[in-house]
């Protein structure tokens, strides 16, 4: 028996969904055009007025928004409600210069939490469940989103936040948590700790909702086997609302996009042209119910496929596959967005060259990032202390730029592999998209 949080909406017919989307899109475009100068200017530049948008079929006429727009408009430029109507901000983590701050009215928080509640119910959650949320709380959307969703479902919510594994395990066993929400890599880490400490018989978990970073089917199988649970994927990004933009159901074969709130499109990342269902391209989202920060045609840079094939769970909303890669060079390390250009900026500021290489790996289910940079005559000293000190300085500068620790390793000149004269910038050994 499949349970739904909002059955009527989640199982609405395609025609009903289209109808709802068209009405809401028209309303949102008018709202944004009237209240947001930045997007109004983009529309004017493209020669589009709200009158041109009569239904979802006209969506392609609207201009895109990118992360660059969000950065340019930082902090208030993309707001469509006065600050006095807003009750919350959330933000992407630690990435100075590329930070995104999203604003929410109470209405926006409500719909976001509804989306998360749908995900929890789809994972089998009811008010009888004990839901342990070990995503980070704070500016990061993971903790607050699932926390709110868990409240809506009526679960007993354990707002654990991330880290402190011993305490996580103690609450998990003592309070008999049945659902766990965290990053897949932390889930794998917890699974291992549980196995090592012989706690497998003491835990009551039945489901996990894992997101905020890419993970493979192999990881899913491992976590499910080690914890004896069903592991569900969840997708979201701060720009749209946070986790819950799309979520996995009992079929565990793609994530239903909450189409009554967000319209998903797949475009050719080169040309911007909309691609037909089933074709691989860049995922684009339009918020159609949000008030404070409704981004329109936001380019996620995630490469993905959409499918309207009938789902065994009874939900009718379009399904997105796990993202298969990125159309830009962004890396997600420990749930944090990392751009090679940010690392380059730090290295150049520290007097190093742009001959560097980023090596991302996963050890003991935790992401590691190493930055290799070639020694230069200017940086060199005959004293070990000088070099160690310099290394520490670079480490600290990277930490403050990225928000996570990256190990710097100074290497011999010309030792970084070059391809056609250019250093190979990123080596991601995690194979996340296989």
């Amino acid at each position: 028996m499949e349970n739904y949080y909002q059955k009527e909406i989640e199982t609405a017919s395609y025609e009903q969904i289209r109808q709802m989307q068209s009405e809401r899109l028209v309303k949102t475009v008018n709202h944004v055009y009237e209240n947001n100068e930045y997007y109004r200017n983009l529309m004017k530049k493209k020669g589009v007025t709200p009158d041109d948008i009569k239904s979802v079929d006209d969506l392609h006429k609207l201009p895109f928004l990118t992360k660059d727009d969000l950065r340019e408009a930082y902090p208030y430029g993309l707001m469509s409600k006065p600050l006095s109507e807003c009750v919350r901000i959330q933000s992407t983590s630690g990435t100075t210069g590329k930070r995104v701050v999203a604003f929410y009215t109470q209405h926006d928080i409500d719909l976001w939490e509804d989306c998360c509640a749908r995900a929890i119910v789809a994972a089998g959650g009811t008010k009888e469940d004990v839901c342990q949320v070990c995503y980070g709380y704070g500016l990061f959307t993971g903790g607050p989103g699932l926390n709110g969703g868990s409240h809506k479902v009526g679960c007993l919510t354990l707002p654990m936040s991330s880290g402190n594994t011993d305490r996580q395990l103690q609450f998990m066993t003592d309070l008999e948590a049945t659902i766990i929400c965290c990053t897949p890599s932390y889930a794998a880490y917890l699974a291992e700790s549980i196995y090592e400490q012989g706690l497998r018989d003491k835990i009551k978990l039945k489901a996990g909702i894992f997101g905020a970073e890419a993970w493979t089917e192999q990881m899913r199988k491992d976590i499910e086997a080690k914890l004896g649970i069903k592991a569900y994927d969840i997708y979201g990004l701060t720009e749209i609302c946070g986790p819950g933009v799309a979520f996995e159901c009992s079929a565990q074969s793609g994530m239903h996009v909450n189409e009554d709130h967000f319209i998903a499109e797949i475009i050719n990342p080169e040309t911007g042209e909309v691609l037909p269902e089933g074709e691989k391209g860049e995922l684009v989202f339009t918020c159609i119910t949000k008030e404070a920060f409704p981004v329109i045609r936001y380019r996620t840079k995630d490469i993905c496929v959409l499918s309207r094939e009938k789902c065994s769970c009874g939900r009718t909303h379009v399904k997105m596959a796990k993202p298969m890669g990125r159309s830009d060079d962004m890396l997600i390390v420990k749930g944090v967005n990392v751009f090679p250009s940010q690392i380059e900026e730090v290295l150049l500021k520290q007097g190093l060259t742009s001959n560097y290489q980023i090596i991302v790996d996963r050890e003991n289910h935790s992401d590691t990032i190493e930055v290799r940079v070639e020694m230069t005559p200017e940086l060199f000293s005959d004293k070990v202390n000088d070099l160690s000190k310099k290394e520490k300085e670079i480490n600290a500068a990277l930490k403050s730029m990225l928000g996570i620790y990256a190990n710097v390793r100074i290497v011999e000149p010309k030792s970084i592999v070059r391809s056609e004269g250019k250093a190979v910038r990123v080596i991601d050994k995690r194979n996340l998209y296989n």
């Binding site: 020694m375 060199f380 000293s381 005959d382 070099l387 160690s388 100074i410 011999e412 010309k414």
Partner: protein, 143 residues
């Protein structure tokens, strides 16, 4: 009075030092003194050689980061505790020794060490005053 030392950046991996030694030898330059200081990840190879300029050119051609550092060569008094006398002189005069290492080549009965300090002039003066013989670049070249 100072002598020239080559300082070379090396990664902490097998074969680096020997390949550097080989390219210097292939250029017909002899190594008179050598030390490696390292951390877990990188090291600094320090060399006193028979022909600094030639060795530096060869290493630069091989994409090494190499610099020339002025250091002091000291002939250790040929008595028990000769080295500690030198060290005591340094500390009494507030001269901080960054590092020191021994020569490979021993001329006659004497032992030599390389001293790296911040203030070469002061160190040389203190040592000379105490009657300790310093090694000149000419001495090295003549070895």
């Amino acid at each position: 009075m100072t002598i020239k030392q080559l300082s070379i950046f090396v990664e902490n991996k097998a074969g680096t030092v020997s390949s550097i030694a080989k390219s210097i030898a292939d250029a017909g330059v002899s190594i008179r003194a050598l030390s490696v200081a390292d951390t877990q990840e990188f090291g600094i190879l320090r060399l006193i050689v028979s022909d600094v300029d030639k060795a530096k050119d060869v290493l630069s051609e091989n994409d090494c980061v190499v610099s020339v550092t002025k250091v002091i060569g000291v002939q250790i008094p040929d008595v028990p505790g000769g080295l500690s006398e030198v060290l005591a002189l340094m500390s009494e005069n507030g001269i901080n020794i960054e590092y020191l290492y021994a020569f490979i080549t021993i001329s006659g009965q004497h032992a030599y060490v390389v001293l790296r300090v911040e203030d070469n002039e002061k160190a040389a003066e203190v040592l000379s005053k105490a009657g300790i013989k310093l090694v000149s670049q000419e001495d090295i070249d003549a070895l």
